[in-house]
Symmetry: C2
Subunit: 358 residues, 2 copies
């Protein structure tokens, strides 16, 4: 992260304190600013000034932080941690905090620990910086995308009669990690036949049968950066409706990708893809937004949706993922990650997309 830029966006702020809580309430901005590739750093802080960065953590993560050559302060008790917080922020009145990065309870507790500060929300500016990926970040995102692309190519070879959704998800995860992922970036969705009508289906045990659609939505984490890709395959020849569904979604996705470019409103990109579906027999069946940012979170800012005016910029990385869902029948979704460029975009998830019958 470019700390100078963050302070330029918040001229009144003298220091910035970012708190990484626990699993349901953590702040990826902690890792954005520190670039720490390993460790959990639960209940740890980073304190930033224009020129310095200090990690405040427990003994549990000390070794990890030191191995990445950072300025580290280690506490062994809550009391010591609170004293450290006071010490590093001494003399500062206007303290930047990411209001989106910590729970309301943690906010109140921080106010209590640092009673004489004026807290300033720097969440919007951190988010705006995180949306535009640096070269270093793009390298990591491309590697995460390469991993899913490779695995996506091999999924048709994994399909066979009687395979369960859970087994397929297990195989996909295994192949991602074999290919260099630290972990899946979210719970892999493997949905067969009617289960594919639930966009966020997971944890199923349906056995694969001839004629069914196989929807697989999966992502890899590489050095904390995420990819997110969906492919829909057919196990045996699909009926005519499913075939039409596939072609419609594929055309919709192509229209969406074509509409992406720097300066474009995300709402219009969504509209370009939606128009293809809504002018087909599948009108109204595309029941979610077209896409979302990918970065340190798999569902990151910005959203590409009919609900929001949001202007794309160069080096944002977003998904383009239209889908059609018919309850009790099935669904098709096709999703790629793209880097926004000046005149268009670069698609970085490259597994084949033409209709594949296995």
């Amino acid at each position: 992260m470019d700390a100078e830029k963050l302070f330029d966006l918040n001229q009144n702020v003298e220091g910035i304190l970012i708190y990484n809580g626990t699993e349901s309430s953590n702040d990826p901005s902690f890792f954005y600013s520190t670039q720490l590739t390993r460790g959990l750093f639960e209940m740890s802080y980073v304190f930033l000034t224009r020129k310095n960065l200090k990690v405040i953590t427990s003994q549990l993560e000390e070794e990890t932080a030191r191995s990445e050559d950072l300025d580290v302060e280690v506490f062994t008790s809550g009391k010591q941690r609170d004293e450290l917080l006071k010490e590093v922020t001494k003399g500062i009145t206007f303290l930047g905090i990411n209001y989106s990065g910590l729970s309301h309870a943690d906010f109140l507790s921080l106010k209590d620990k640092l009673p004489n500060k004026e807290f300033v929300d720097v969440g919007e500016s951190i988010s705006s910086l995180r949306q535009i990926k640096s070269e270093r970040e793009i390298t990591k995102l491309k590697e995460a995308a390469r991993i899913v692309s490779k695995v996506g190519e091999n999924i048709p070879g994994m399909l066979k009669d009687g395979l369960t959704e859970g087994e397929l998800a297990a195989k996909v995860n295994y192949e991602m990690m074999k290919n260099g992922a630290t972990s899946p970036s979210f719970d892999t969705i493997a949905a067969f036949g009617p289960d594919a009508a639930e966009p966020h289906f997971s944890g199923g045990n349906r056995k694969l049968k001839k004629g069914e659609v196989v929807l697989v939505d999966f992502g890899a984490k590489y050095q904390r950066y995420c990819s997110d890709m969906t492919r829909s395959y057919f196990f045996g020849k699909p009926d005519r409706e499913m075939q039409e569904m596939y072609e419609t979604v594929l055309n919709s996705q192509a229209a969406g990708i074509k509409a992406v470019k720097s300066g474009e409103n995300g709402k219009l990109v969504d509209a370009a893809a939606r128009k293809v579906i809504d002018s087909s027999k599948f009108k109204g069946r595309f029941i979610h937004g077209l896409g979302h940012g990918v970065g340190l979170n798999v569902h990151d800012h910005p959203a590409l949706s009919s609900q929001m005016d949001f202007f794309l910029k160069e080096n944002m990385v977003v998904t383009v993922e239209p889908g059609v869902y018919i309850p009790n029948k099935g669904g098709v979704r096709i999703e790629d990650d793209v880097i926004v460029t000046k005149n268009g975009c670069q698609v970085i998830t490259t597994a084949p997309k033409e209709l594949q019958v296995v």
Copy 2:
């Protein structure tokens, strides 16, 4: 969840609104109260009264929510969502909110959407209910524990010269899912030799060599409930110091498990285990708390730590996981999940713990 109990603990509250944000800021209490086993339900709400429960979600999750037979209100725009929030909370002044479950930014936004309410923090009472597991929850936790136990038994068979940490983590995850896990409950830690000195090591590519310790810390998610187990193995005969380290940690863990019982202070349980390490040559090398709750989060309340007075109760589920870490040399940790009983505890992760040389 027993909504009656939650309202009994908060007599002044007329309704409770729980908000499940996105991946870094979500509230497991949403799933605790709804028992929804599938779906992400990002940016969704549950509204509770003593007698009723209503899920407020987007079309994206509608199908999933309906398949689990819940009362569901579906919005297709942010405006519609805000209107629904107003409508369901109409006539209510004192509205319970989980201050630990939503970000400060989301709290401010909710205040803005519902301007005439008095918000009351029900976080502590939800947390206290979540700590005591119901029979239904214990069944799920036991299944999650069974899965890791089974996989733990098979890890020695996976070890061979040149295996990388990443490959081992991939295999462990695969075996967990093959055995019924929805996903790993956290990024699997597989650390060889000196890497095992970082308690939260992950994403490594060290190749296994004879004489090294193999520390594997892994967990399974089963219907959203987590397990968390660590085993340390030796690939080839360890040197005397590592052998002593293993025996010390094993004795420490036995002392910790022995100290667990309903009514006991977690601080004393931590002390019982810590005493074994601190009266050995490894004094001061046990650099974290003894354990934590497991439930819908893998690091859940309560903590067993020297820092906190916390009294254990029947049907809490906690980990007992002492460790010893020597930078540049290695580390050993042994971790089990236990259910607190009236007079002791039941260990539910059952993979062998005697020193194993592969």
